[in-house]
């Protein structure tokens, strides 16, 4: 699975291109079509950076989701954890007098702990991940509403806002976060022992147990990580809006699942790559952006997204069947 297993080592980039041929061609085709239909607006630097910023939250959630799905599970709670951590970060500053770093750290730690709780329940009981995270989705969303009294918590504090609105050179900070997590997750999944264990748990958890893999710990780590990424994303999103929104991140889990599946990760576990998920994220992002530029309303975007998901997964299955 990972390149270092090949005795006649295949070039990593060649392999990546080969494995993701279908989605890459799709992405490329979309870009070409958009460059014609938008008279080049799509290809402006401004717009491309915009696309990257728009996809950054979904990317971070999708990275965590990819880990969860490779272990044969799923994490439905990411959108709600995102909302809770976001509102907490704003609320702790505005209502509880926390310093900005203190509030941000606390909000992220709480979100991460909810992920850990997911992982604990999944690893130590036999409740399926779908159910555990479905429950957490409700609980965290409810908690976000209760904490914020159902209202957005405005936090017009420069030091806080900058987390979401800042730039590093020409690149928005959320894009930087995304790239950092992208690299970290690629390494974690393809190069580390933990990554190997993730594939083993999803590929055949019984064989993993018989091989001395700590299956419970691996699952706990995966959901903790997913919780952390969701919490982090929530803080960035709310900082950008200068407001803790308890309604933030609604149905974000679905976009994250869509991106993961578009990238070719198998819902039955054991197969998947972070790099491929990133392509899935970009396809959804470019689609949204392009349809916006073309002036199509968001209801049509949803239909388009649905069709693209069906098409992409179907093509992927055809490809695998031919093998």
């Amino acid at each position: 699975m990972s390149p270092e297993n090949n005795i006649k080592a295949q070039n990593g980039i060649v392999r990546y291109l080969k494995d993701n041929m279908g989605t890459l061609i799709g992405l490329f085709a979309m870009c070409v079509v958009l460059s014609f239909t938008t008279n080049g607006v799509f290809y402006s630097q401004r717009n491309l950076i915009n696309v990257l910023r728009q996809v950054s939250s979904n990317a971070c959630l999708a990275f965590g989701m990819t880990f969860a799905i490779i272990t044969g599970g799923i994490d439905l709670s990411v959108g709600s954890i995102l909302a809770l951590s976001g509102t907490l970060s704003a609320g702790l500053i505005v209502h509880s007098g926390f310093s900005v770093p203190g509030a941000v750290a606390t909000a992220i730690i709480i979100g991460t702990c909810l992920g850990l709780f997911n992982g604990f329940m999944i690893a130590k009981t036999t409740i399926p991940p779908f159910i555990v995270t479905l429950a957490m989705m409700q609980i965290a969303r409810g908690a976000a509403y209760i904490y914020s009294n159902g209202q957005p918590i405005r936090a017009m504090i420069n030091e806080y806002q900058i987390i979401g609105t800042g730039y590093l050179g020409p690149i928005p900070l959320p894009v930087i976060y995304m790239l950092v997590f992208l690299i970290a997750c690629v390494i974690l999944l393809s190069k580390t022992r933990f990554g190997r264990h993730v594939y083993a748990v999803g590929g055949n958890d019984k064989a993993a147990i018989f091989s001395g893999v700590n299956v419970a710990r691996t699952k706990m780590l995966v959901y903790t990580m997913s919780g952390f990424l969701a919490a982090f994303t929530g803080v960035v999103l709310c900082a950008r809006m200068a407001s803790g929104q308890p309604t933030a991140g609604q149905s974000f889990e679905m976009d994250a699942i869509a991106a993961t599946v578009l990238g070719g990760t198998s819902m039955s576990g054991g197969v998947g790559k972070i790099g491929s998920t990133m392509i899935g994220v970009l396809i959804i992002g470019v689609l949204n952006n392009g349809l916006n530029l073309l002036g199509l309303n968001s209801f049509w975007q949803q239909i388009a997204k649905g069709i693209v998901i069906l098409l992409a997964v179907y093509v992927d299955m055809l490809k695998k069947r031919r093998k």
């Binding site: 699975m1 297993n5 090949n6 019984k206 993993a208 147990i209 001395g212």
Partner: protein, 503 residues
Amino acid sequence: MAEDNILLQMKHIHKKFPGVYALKDVNFELRAGEVHALLGENGAGKSTLIKCLAGIYIPEEGEVIVKGNSHIMQNVADSQAHGISVIHQELCLVPYLSIAENMFLGRERNVAGFIKRGQEAEEAKKMLARLGLDFDPNTLIQDLSIAQQQMVEIAKALSVKADILVMDEPTASLTDKETEVLFETMRQLKAEGIGIIYISHRMSELFEITDRVTIMRDGQYVGTVNTRETTRDQLIAMMVGRELTQLYFKDEVKPGEVVLEVKDLVSPPFVNGVSFAVRAGEIVGMSGLVGAGRSETSHCIFGIDNRYTGEILIDGKPVHIRSVRDAMKNGIALVPENRKEEGLVLINSVGYNLTLTVLHEIFRGRPLGNPKKENETIAQYIHELAIKTPTAEQLAENLSGGNQQKIVIAKWLATKPKLLILDEPTRGVDVGARAEIYGFMNELAKQGVAILMISSDLPEILNMSDRVLVMHEGKVTANLSKNELSQELIMRYATGGGTANVA
């Protein structure tokens, strides 16, 4: 050869895969009323040929003639419509449905969509009775033993009015008595003019039940012989392409110190007070009937079952084993009974599987691993165990059973164990790979590894063991030394000390 009673001819069948195995110019013929065995090592192409017949694969070249009509099967329904029924090795029953519901799955007896349960149950009962089975057709599949499920599978296959019946290792999980019942049924089917293609590794069965044998090797047709005119040695030679002079390799090794000692191991309901010891360089066979608690005992020693009571000593010192990692730290390795479920991550590569047990060494002090060391380890074990794979990147599921088993053995040898527990080490493994596995065991014993071999294969137990422990109902009922070993004695203790000629 009378042309009129030929049911099926497969001529010059070619099937290519991007993976490992293919069919090259394979011929096969089946007459009405004969049992025709398809023999070959795992990976020889038997299953691929069957899948070409069942419409699962479509051959690129060649001709299939069924009852005079030349027709390549396009899908499973097409094949069934031509009277071909396949009983696959893996059971294909829905566990939460009843026997009757499974039998009529997809062709439910109904009136306007409402199922006629009574009629289904009645017909199912008749079909079961034909096999000499007295099961209540309303029993859920999950409440049946594997052997019973197998019988239901056969009854189901027969119920679709097939005149070509394919049986892929039907006896692998059957007891001798059940096998006898099955053979009786097969003889009856023969008399009715049904042609049976029979796949089995059990040589003795071939001589008991088949009329002809077609041998395949490496995806190619080797030859067809009349069972009555051939010998076991001739068949094996045709299968492996060389004279296999010896299957079992076992040198005398002077046993060393006690490596493993187990005292009063209890883990209800299968393990009820097990005590024994294994010395360095010793191969201790563990025999017994299914459900005697052999695998369960090994699961205690290996830390998979962590609720047992009793004492485990390694090198004379009591050790605390409550997880597989604990067991591994104490130099214990277990090659599990079921390689597909417990041994391998099938959808991952050969290399990945080989190093899964030694990741702690490859990643020691290096968070990103040591690719050089990893590749060396992989290459070393692929070489040492002669694992037939095009590259280390090949997915484990694409390898033959024998090669898969070698991967599981290799991944445990990589941990350099002091004690190696092998649970059914050659189940579903072809003759060539079996001989190799016995060779490895012999070699390991000579190097001083203590080996505990759980096996239901009596010739294997008799030929490979220095000593045999027999288990019955969760207890060790006999500890037999090499010179007192006999099949009858083992069976007597395995069945609870009854009469000697149970087998």
